[in-house]
C-alpha cells in the first residue's frame, strides 16, 4: 500500500512546485466536514512534521499524517481534464460513497 502519483500528476506537481519556488513536497490528507463526511486535503508542504508518513512516487515527496492515512492508503493521485476543467483526482480504494459533487466522501 502507500500513496502513488501517476506520471501525469507528477509532471503537474513538479511544474507547480517549480513555479511556486519553494516547498518540500505535497501534503495529502482528509478532514472532517460537518457530519459523517470527509473531504480531501491537497496542499503544498513547506515542512515535514515529525509524525508525517513520507512516500516518494515519481520523484515527488508525499506527506500524509497517520490519522489521514487510514482513509486514503492505496490512493493513486491522477491529473485529468474534464471539458474545460482540469485538476487532480484521488483514486481512493477506501471510498464507499461520495456526495453528489464528489467533494466529500465516506469510508
Amino acid at each position: 500500500m502507500g500513496i502513488t502519483l501517476t506520471e501525469n500528476a507528477a509532471q503537474h506537481v513538479n511544474s507547480f512546485m517549480q513555479k511556486r519556488g519553494k516547498g518540500v513536497g505535497l501534503r495529502l490528507g482528509v478532514k472532517t466536514t460537518g457530519c459523517s463526511g470527509l473531504a480531501y486535503v491537497l496542499e503544498f508542504a513547506d515542512d515535514i512534521d515529525s509524525e508525517d508518513v513520507v512516500f516518494e512516487s515519481q520523484g515527488v515527496k508525499i506527506l500524509v499524517d497517520p490519522k489521514s492515512l487510514v482513509y486514503i492508503d492505496g490512493t493513486e493521485l491522477d491529473y485529468t481534464k474534464e471539458g474545460l476543467n482540469e485538476g487532480f483526482k484521488f483514486e481512493n480504494p477506501n471510498v464507499k460513497d461520495e456526495c453528489g459533487c464528489g467533494e466529500s466522501f465516506t469510508v
Binding site: G2, H12, V13, S15, F16, K19, R20, L26, R27, K31, T32, T33, G34, C35, S36, G37, L38, A39, Y40, V41, L42, E43, F44, A45, D46, E51, V53, V54, F55, P66, K67, L69, V70, Y71, T80, E82, G83, L84, N85, E86, G87, F88, K89, F90, E98, C99, G100, C101, G102, E103, S104, F105, T106, V107
Partner: protein, 626 residues
C-alpha cells in the same frame, strides 16, 4: 469526483466553499481571463483553445449578441452592428464621442442623457452594455473551467482612466453579474505578473503597445506599494496602425484606389495584420490579394516593414520622454522595463525600446496575457487564498472625502489619491452654547461647496454634554479599508459619546439611465437567484439528513449516549420540517445547527474508524510508512 487544485499550506477549502477568483484584462482589442490554480497563474482558454477573446460584440435581430472571434469575422460584412474597440467610448460623454466617433464606423444616437449610444438592429446600446457582453462571456468561460461560481474578479483599467471611465467599467461588471474586488491599473498588474512587487523597491517603466492604444507608465515601488509617478501615451496609436500602414503600402503597390468600401478596407487591414504577425518569425512574407478586379501578388521583407512601422514607433517614444520628464527621472534610473500588449511582439519594437531605455526589456511572459495574469494573482490574494498578506497592493482614493462645515463648505479629511487603507482624524467643536447634538455630513468630491460634491451619508452625534460654544472636542475619524469601504466615527472626547456610520464611497449611481438599466437586469435576476439559493439549501439539507441518518444507523447506538442521540434526532426533525418550507434563512440555520450538534459524533466516528484500521498492526508499520 470533483477535480482538485493544490492549496497553500493550511488553506484547503471545505467542499462547496471554493474561493474562485479571476483577473480580467478588459482590453480595447482583446480581452482575457486568468486565474491561479495550484499556485500558478495562467489565462484560461475557451473550448477551442483560444485564450484571447476579441473585444468585439455583434448584435443580431432576434438572438443573443455574438462576442469574440465570430463577431470579429462578421465585422466586414456587418459593420454597423458589430462593435469593436468599445473601451474607447467607456465613460465618455456625447461631446467626446463627436470627436472620437468620426473615426468609427458606427451610427451614434444622442440619448436623452449624457451617455452616447450606438444604433444596432437590436436597439440602441450603450458602451457599458456592450462591455458587459464581453465580460459575461469571460465569466462563463471561467465558471465552466473552474467548475463553480466566481467569488469575485479584479478587472484592469488604464492608469489614466478617470473616475467616469472607472465607474463605467464597474457598472459593466455589475451588469455582467461579476463582483469586482477592485479595479487595478494595467501597468501595476503587469509589474505584479513579473513579481516586481516582491522586491524591496525600484522604478519601472511599463511600455504597453496594444491594438489601438499606447501607454507608458512609470511606477515607483516603495515598501509594497506601487505609486504611479507619471503616465503618458497616445490613445489613437497601436498595432492596428501598423496593420493599416502595411495595408496602405499594399494598396499603393497593388494600385487599389482610396475609394475602397468599408468592408474592403477591413479585409485589407486584416491581411496587413497577418503580414505583420508573420514577420515576427520570418524575414519575408508573401502576399496575395484577390480583391477587386485585379488580383495582386507581392512580398514584404523585414527591412521594408521596419521602415513602414518606424514612424509609428517614433510616436511611442515621444510620450516615453514626456513620462520620464514628468516623473523627474532619466532613462538610466529605470530599474526595469516591462513589455505589455501584443504589438510588443514586433521585433522592431523590442529593439527600439531596448535602445531607448538602455536595457533589455522583460518579455518572457506573453505580452498579451501579462496584465490578466497580474490581475489573477491579485484576485487570488483578495479572495483569501494566501496564508498571509504576501501581497496586498494598496489602492488610492479616487476622490477626496470630506465633511460639511458651517456655511455649507467642505473640509477635506482624506485627500484624493491617498493610498488605502487609511485613517485620518480631525477635531471639531460646537458652535452654540449648550449645543447637545451635531450633524455630520460625509461628502465626496473636489469642490469647495457641499452642494457641488456628492453626499455620501449623514448622521448625528447626540448626547453631547452641554458646554460653552467651542468647549466640546469632537474627533471625527475617517477610515477607508482595503476594499474601499469608508467608515466614519465621531466621538466627543470628554464624555466619550460616539456615533458611527459606514458608507461605500465612489459608487453611487447617479446616472438615471444606468440605474434603470441595472434595475431591469436585476428585477428577474433576484427572483432567479433567490429560487436557486433556496434550492441549493434544500439540496444541502437533504444531503445532510441522509448522511446523518445513515451515520446514526451505523454507529448511533455504540458511540452516543441517550441525551446526545436525542439532541441529534431533534436537530434532524427540525431540519426536515423547515426544509419543506421556503424560508432560506431557517434552512441555513437548521443546517448549521445540525452540523454543530453532530461535530463530536463525526470526530468519534473517525477515531473509531482509525482504531478499527489500526487493530492488528504495530506502530512501526505506520511510522516507517510501509
Amino acid at each position: 469526483m470533483a477535480l482538485l487544485q493544490i492549496s497553500e499550506p493550511g488553506q484547503s477549502t471545505s467542499p462547496h466553499e471554493h474561493r474562485l477568483a479571476v483577473g480580467i484584462d478588459l482590453g480595447t482589442t482583446n480581452s482575457l481571463v486568468a486565474t491561479v490554480r495550484s499556485g500558478s497563474a495562467d489565462t484560461l482558454p475557451d473550448a477551442t483553445g483560444e485564450h484571447l477573446l476579441p473585444s468585439v460584440v455583434r448584435y443580431l435581430t432576434d438572438a443573443e449578441p455574438v462576442v469574440g472571434r465570430a463577431a470579429l469575422e462578421a465585422a466586414a460584412s456587418d459593420p454597423l452592428n458589430t462593435i469593436a474597440s468599445v473601451k474607447r467610448l467607456m465613460g465618455r460623454g456625447v461631446a467626446d464621442i463627436r470627436h472620437i466617433g468620426e473615426t468609427l464606423p458606427y451610427e451614434f444616437v444622442a440619448g436623452e442623457s449624457q451617455m452616447p449610444r450606438i444604433h444596432t438592429v437590436s436597439g440602441d446600446r450603450s458602451p457599458v452594455e456592450i462591455s458587459a457582453e464581453i465580460l459575461k462571456v469571460l465569466k462563463q468561460r471561467a465558471e465552466s473551467t473552474l467548475g463553480g461560481e466566481l467569488t469575485g474578479a479584479v478587472i484592469t483599467v488604464p492608469a489614466y482612466f478617470d473616475d467616469a471611465q472607472r465607474q463605467a467599467t464597474k457598472d459593466a461588471a455589475r451588469l455582467a453579474g461579476l463582483h469586482v474586488f477592485r479595479l487595478l491599473n494595467e501597468p501595476t498588474a503587469a509589474a505584479v505578473a513579473y513579481g516586481l512587487d516582491q522586491k524591496p523597491e525600484g522604478i519601472y517603466a511599463i511600455y504597453d503597445l496594444g491594438g489601438g492604444t499606447f501607454d507608458i507608465s512609470i511606477l515607483r515601488l516603495n515598501r509594497g506599494v506601487f505609486e504611479v509617478m507619471s503616465t503618458a501615451g497616445d490613445s489613437a496609436l497601436g498595432g492596428d496602425d501598423m496593420d493599416h500602414a502595411v495595408a496602405n503600402w499594399m494598396m499603393q503597390e497593388a494600385g487599389i484606389s482610396g475609394s475602397a468600401g468599408r468592408g474592403e478596407l477591413r479585409a485589407l487591414a486584416r491581411e496587413g495584420r497577418r503580414v505583420k504577425e508573420a514577420l515576427t518569425d520570418s524575414d519575408v512574407v508573401n502576399i496575395e490579394l484577390n480583391q477587386g478586379d485585379r488580383p495582386w501578388r507581392g512580398e514584404l521583407n523585414v527591412d521594408a516593414f521596419n521602415r513602414l512601422v518606424d514612424p509609428l514607433i517614433d510616436r511611442t517614444l515621444v510620450p516615453c520622454k514626456r513620462a520620464l520628464r514628468d516623473a523627474g527621472i532619466k532613462a538610466d534610473e529605470i530599474d526595469g522595463v516591462v513589455l505589455v500588449g501584443g504589438s510588443t511582439r514586433v521585433r522592431r519594437v523590442r529593439e527600439r525600446v531596448e535602445s531607448f531605455f538602455g536595457k533589455p526589456p522583460l518579455a518572457n511572459i506573453d505580452p498579451d496575457r501579462v496584465v490578466a495574469i497580474g490581475a489573477a494573482l491579485q484576485a487570488d490574494v483578495l479572495a483569501g487564498n494566501k496564508s498571509e498578506d504576501e501581497m496586498l497592493l494598496l489602492d488610492i482614493t479616487p476622490l477626496s472625502l470630506g465633511i460639511e462645515i458651517m456655511g455649507g463648505m467642505t473640509e477635506k479629511i482624506i485627500p484624493r489619491n491617498s493610498t488605502i487603507p487609511i485613517a485620518k482624524a480631525q477635531d471639531f467643536t460646537t458652535f452654540k452654547d449648550g449645543q447637545t447634538a451635531m450633524s455630520i455630513h460625509v461628502v465626496q468630491g473636489e469642490r469647495e461647496m457641499v452642494d457641488d460634491c456628492r453626499s455620501l451619508a449623514r448622521f448625528e452625534l447626540r448626547d453631547i454634554p452641554p458646554m460653552a460654544a467651542g468647549g466640546a472636542r469632537i474627533r471625527v475619524t475617517y477610515q477607508v479599508d482595503a476594499d474601499g469601504l469608508l467608515s466614519v466615527n465621531a466621538r466627543e472626547q470628554t464624555s466619550g459619546v460616539e456615533a458611527h456610520v459606514e458608507v461605500k464611497p465612489s459608487y453611487g449611481l447617479t446616472d438615471n439611465e444606468i440605474e434603470t438599466m441595472l434595475k431591469d437586469s436585476f428585477a428577474h435576476a433576484r427572483e432567479d437567484m433567490d429560487a436557486r439559493n433556496l434550492r441549493e439549501q434544500q439540496v444541502d439539507a437533504d444531503r445532510l439528513i441522509e448522511s446523518v441518518t445513515a451515520a446514526l444507523a451505523a454507529d448511533g447506538e455504540e458511540l452516543l449516549d441517550d441525551a446526545e442521540r436525542t439532541a441529534i434526532l431533534a436537530a434532524l426533525a427540525n431540519l426536515e420540517a423547515v426544509r419543506q418550507g421556503s424560508d432560506l434563512q431557517a434552512i441555513k440555520q437548521a443546517i448549521s445547527a445540525t452540523d454543530a450538534v453532530t461535530q463530536d459524533f463525526a470526530a468519534r466516528r473517525m477515531d473509531a474508524g482509525m482504531r478499527k484500521a489500526l487493530t492488528g498492526h504495530t506502530l512501526d508499520e505506520f511510522t516507517s510508512g510501509k
